[in-house]
Every structure is written in C-alpha cells, then in structure tokens.
Symmetry: C2
Subunit: 228 residues, 2 copies
C-alpha cells in the first residue's frame, strides 16, 4: 500500500503581478478572446515539445510557460496526448494554408505565362523550409519527430492532412520526371527529397551561413538535371 502525503506545491510565483500593478486588468483585444489561452498553450507546448521532446516535457512545464498552475492545462485539453495532437493538427493546417498561398501568389506573379514545373518545385521547397525552420516553426518539427508519441486514434487525422500536403508535390515531380529533369523512380525520389528537406530541422540554424534562399537553390541543383 502506498501512503503519500504531499506538501503544498511551491507557492505560485506572482505571475500576474506586473499586470495587476497597472490596476484592474483591462481586457485587451487578445485577452478577451476565449481561445487566447488555448492558443498560448499550443504555442508554448509546441516550443517545449520541439526543444525537449514530448516525453521529457511535463504538463507542469507547459503550464508554467503559459503562466498557469499545474492542473490548468487540463481545463483546455483532455490529456497531454490530446495537446500533442492539437499541436500537430494546428501545424499542418497552417502549413497547408501557407503552401496554398505561396502557390497562388507565385501563379499570380507569373501571369500571363504559367509557371514551369521547376518554378513550382522551387516555390514548394522554399515554402517547406519556411514551415520547417522559419519563424514560428515549432509545430511541424514536432509532427515530424514526435509521431511515435501520438496516440494511434489521432494518427489518421494528422496523416490525412500530411497526405494532402504531399499530394500537391506529386504532379510537379511527375512533370519534372517527364521532362527528364528528375531521374529515377518518382515515388522513391519523392521520399528521398522529403528526407533531405525534413532533415534540415536537425541542423539548420537561422542567421548562420546559408540563407533559406541559398538552401533552396542548392536543393534544386542537387535534385534536378538540366532540361533535356
């Protein structure tokens, strides 16, 4: 039998003090929003999951980073796993939106000519780098590297978004294969290309040697041949 008498948790650091010192807290635009604390939890959870890993991050870490007490994240999320799933879904939805925007913008800029397959791939690769290692890029690396920790019941929903994201690349790569600019089995080539790109989350550090534009150039040079 286990008898455990727990002392009080450490007294709360006076997190609200700076706000209180300005008098009664005004409800500013983003504090009024009900979803605000939920969004903040997603943001700090994504950051901690990315930097420390899902298992190494406690729900207490997340609560503290969001300025809450230890039990409060469970008011917004059923479980730690549900929070992980929400991070991944939020990340994929943003990535899909960004990808669609980038393609639409590039198509608009190219008018009246249409984009070449090579130009399309350049846009997709450049946007992928933004999503992976650009600003506010914690969500997608969490999805890529913490997949194992996602409960099996939530995997299909995340996978559906992932498949939609990758499907956009397929006709582009097919066209490049048809023109002789991409050699070899297209399915395997696609998996290898995603690997090369996704792995940058492991080593790329912003403001270091290579810019994301330069990295995009190198990637295209590496993967593509000159048009036959």
């Amino acid at each position: 039998m286990v008898l455990a008498m727990h002392v009080n948790e450490a007294p709360a650091p006076d997190l609200d003090a700076p706000r209180r010192s300005r008098g009664r807290p005004r409800k500013s635009a983003d504090e009024r929003d009900d979803g605000n604390r939920r969004q903040e939890l997603l943001r700090v959870a994504a950051h901690l999951f990315r930097t420390q890993g899902f298992d190494a991050t406690s729900t207490r870490d997340i609560a503290a980073a969001a300025g809450m007490r230890s039990g409060s994240p469970f008011y917004h999320f059923e479980s730690k796993e549900a929070l992980l799933a929400a991070v991944m879904l939020e990340g994929m939805e943003r990535a899909l939106q960004r990808q669609a925007d980038a393609m639409a913008q590039a198509a608009a800029d190219a008018q009246p000519q249409s984009l070449s397959a090579r130009d399309c791939l350049r846009v997709l690769v450049r946007n992928h780098f933004d999503v992976l290692v650009g600003p506010e890029s914690d969500f997608i690396p969490v999805m890529l590297y913490e997949w194992r920790s996602l409960s099996t019941s939530e995997r299909s929903a995340v996978k559906a978004l992932k498949d939609r994201y990758e499907t956009v690349w397929v006709p582009v790569l097919d066209a490049l294969h048809a023109s002789g600019e991409l050699s070899g089995d297209v399915r395997l080539a696609r998996l290898l290309i995603f690997g090369a790109l996704n792995w940058t989350a492991q080593w790329y550090r912003p403001n270091q040697r290579a810019s994301l534009d330069a990295l995009t150039d190198t990637a295209l040079q590496l993967f593509l041949k000159d048009k036959a």
Copy 2:
C-alpha cells in the same frame, strides 16, 4: 514528508527454468563471456530505444527484456544515460568498421583499376542503408533520433566518431563536384544527401516494395548528373 511502503515487486517469472531443466547450467561459449550480459543489455536497449524512444523506455523494460530484475542493469551501467551513450558508441564503432570494410572490399574487387568517385559513393550509400535499416540496425537510428537525450558530457565522444564517419564522404563528394556530377555547394549538398538517406529510417520497411539495392540506384540517380 512522504511515507511510502512498497510491496514486493511482482514475483520473478522463472526466467532460468528452461536452462535449469537441462541440469546444471553449462557455460557455453557466449555465456562464459563476462561481457555477454552487457552486450545483451546493449542489444535490447537499442531495440527499445529505437521503437519506443529513450524517455518512453524504462530501465525496468530493459531489464525485463534482458531477463533480469529491475535493479540489475545498474550493475553494468552507471545510469540510464550511460547506457544510451554506450548504445550510440557501439553503433558508431560498428558503422565505422563496416564502412571501412565495404570500401576495402570494393577496392579489392575493382583491381587493377581504381574505383570511380561514383562507384565510391555507391558503396558508401549502400553501406549506409545497411547500417540504417538493414539487419541489427537499431543502434544508428537511436544515435540519430535520440541525440537530444544524450547527456552533454557524452556528446563529444559520439560526435567524434560521427565526424570520422562523415569525413570519408568528403573527398568522394569533392571529386564528384569537380567532375560536374554533383552540382551546388558541396557542404550543403552533403547535408541534404545525409538527410535524404537518414530519413529512410522513418519510412523504409524491409521486404517491402524497394530493395536496398534499388534504393541505392534511385539515390544515385537523384543526386548525380551524367559526367560532363
């Protein structure tokens, strides 16, 4: 104050029974070796770390998989982190040995001509796939994907071996760049290439569609141009 009275752990499953039923345990060649249990711990730890992740694997899981009681791994390893470091070091030493053997074998087979840079890369890539996703390939994926969990004091030793492994590739890629078979910044290209290869640990399943030979062909086709 915490008072905790723990009941006995679950009674030991009679792990030695099959061996005992043959009478007094004979010390066979590998049971006699003092390092045998240590090697077995490394093997099962590598497998569990790979499939579940370091944080999600308890030292009790490891002990059970090796047929020991919960405290016994600490007779062989100072800490769970030391066990992780040992898995990574063992994996890198084996990978270096295999890489050297593969290059020596290829050079011997090619006599009296010397190997082309392209042939060298093929040997390196093929061997890398073996190390990553071939039989007994748990060690290197653990090194690649659990780096975060490695204590900072042990990182430099693992990194030294990793650098030695990658250094072998540098002159090969330089030669391919000089001949026009590899385009773009060589350092960035090398990082992208390792990414493409290392990511296969995420999706490749043996005995499935593509063999490692076919995957090697596709990789070379993807990365290399025809000789100018």
